[in-house]
């Protein structure tokens, strides 16, 4: 769908957090509840990615519930982009 890189998606995720006065840590293993990245933040990130790739990334909630860490977020977006 797009060659949007993992680093670029990470940058977008950082933007979502920065807007709320929060910081995205460097590693992938940080749990999302430690940095206050909630489900609607994930939605916002997905919509930003959609804007970038000019395509919709629709998905069901069960996959979202498995996301625990920063790396999980990036993996999930990557799966949506390559689906």
């Amino acid at each position: 769908m797009s060659d949007l890189s993992r680093d670029e998606v990470r940058g977008m995720m950082a933007d979502v957090l920065t807007k709320q006065g929060k910081t995205l840590p460097a590693g992938d293993t940080t749990p999302l509840d430690e940095i206050g990245f909630r489900s609607l933040d994930f939605s916002e990130l997905a919509l930003r990615v959609e804007d970038e790739v000019d395509a919709e990334l629709n998905f069901d909630a069960p996959g979202l519930r498995e996301i625990r860490t920063v790396g999980d977020v990036l993996d999930f977006i990557d799966q949506l982009l390559t689906a």
Partner: protein
């Protein structure tokens, strides 16, 4: 017969989505009450086939996509030819949703509305035409959901269809002037559905907050559907919530 006389118990009930779960349980309960039953689903399951083979004169089953209006109308004709006139309908067929509205595709929203709202309205129209053309009277039971009355994330389109069906229940009960009793049964979330999406701690919390102390089971719904199909209660145009009091 005057329209003010009580409507008799259902004698031949059409059940949509009668292949498994609550639908199949309703099919069995109708048979237990001595009535005939016509049931369709997208796929005829072994459970349906077994009932049709066990009760060939009282059960008629078929494979029908609820959104295919022509197929549904054909099924009504075929079922009536096999069983005799249909005088009751249980609108049970539905598809679920588990996705935030912003991430649900327009195509999926359309499918949910087609299956959960348009299809039962069209099927109800066909069954009412069948009943009225024979000068008959009857009963309609719509299986809706607590989602129509309370907000749950991930169920926006689904909730809209169930709310629409509850609204149609009231309007239709008024429109049919007592010649057809029209009601909704609105279950809370079944324990089996909840356990597939929630962890044990969340399930425990919801159960604790439910005044009856337990989540609803399909078996809780059946007696209420039976009452609406067979009893002389004068209940009409109502939505009966079955959620252990969780919604109060």
């Amino acid at each position: 017969m005057s329209d003010t006389e009580p409507i008799g118990p259902a004698t031949c009930v059409l059940v949509s989505g009668g292949s498994r779960g609550l639908g199949l349980t309703i099919v069995r309960s109708v048979l237990d009450k001595g009535a005939k039953v016509a049931a369709f689903a997208r796929t005829v399951t072994p459970g349906m086939t077994e009932l049709a083979e066990t009760y060939p004169d009282r059960v008629f089953v078929g494979s029908v996509d609820a959104t295919d209006a022509a197929a549904a109308t054909r099924f009504i004709k075929d079922a009536a030819a096999h069983l005799g006139p249909i005088d009751a309908l249980v609108n049970n067929a539905a598809i679920g949703q588990d996705s935030l509205h912003v991430h649900t595709s327009p195509e999926r929203i359309d499918a949910i509305i087609s299956t959960n709202l348009t299809a039962p309205l069209v099927l109800t129209r066909a069954v009412l035409r069948h009943i009225m053309s024979r000068g008959g009277r009857g009963r309609v039971v719509n299986v809706t959901s607590i989602c129509a009355q309370r907000g749950y994330a991930g169920l926006v389109a689904y909730s809209a269809t169930k709310g629409g069906l509850d609204a149609a229940t009231r309007a239709l009960a008024r429109e049919m002037h007592g010649r057809v009793l029209v009601n909704s049964v609105a279950p809370g979330f079944f324990a089996s559905e909840m356990s597939s999406v929630l962890g044990p701690n969340q399930l425990d919390t919801i159960t604790r907050r439910t005044p009856s102390g337990r989540l609803v089971e399909p078996a809780n719904v059946v007696p209420v559907v039976e009452m609406l199909l067979f009893a002389d209660t004068n209940v009409n145009g109502q939505v009966i919530v079955l959620d252990g009091g969780g919604g109060i």
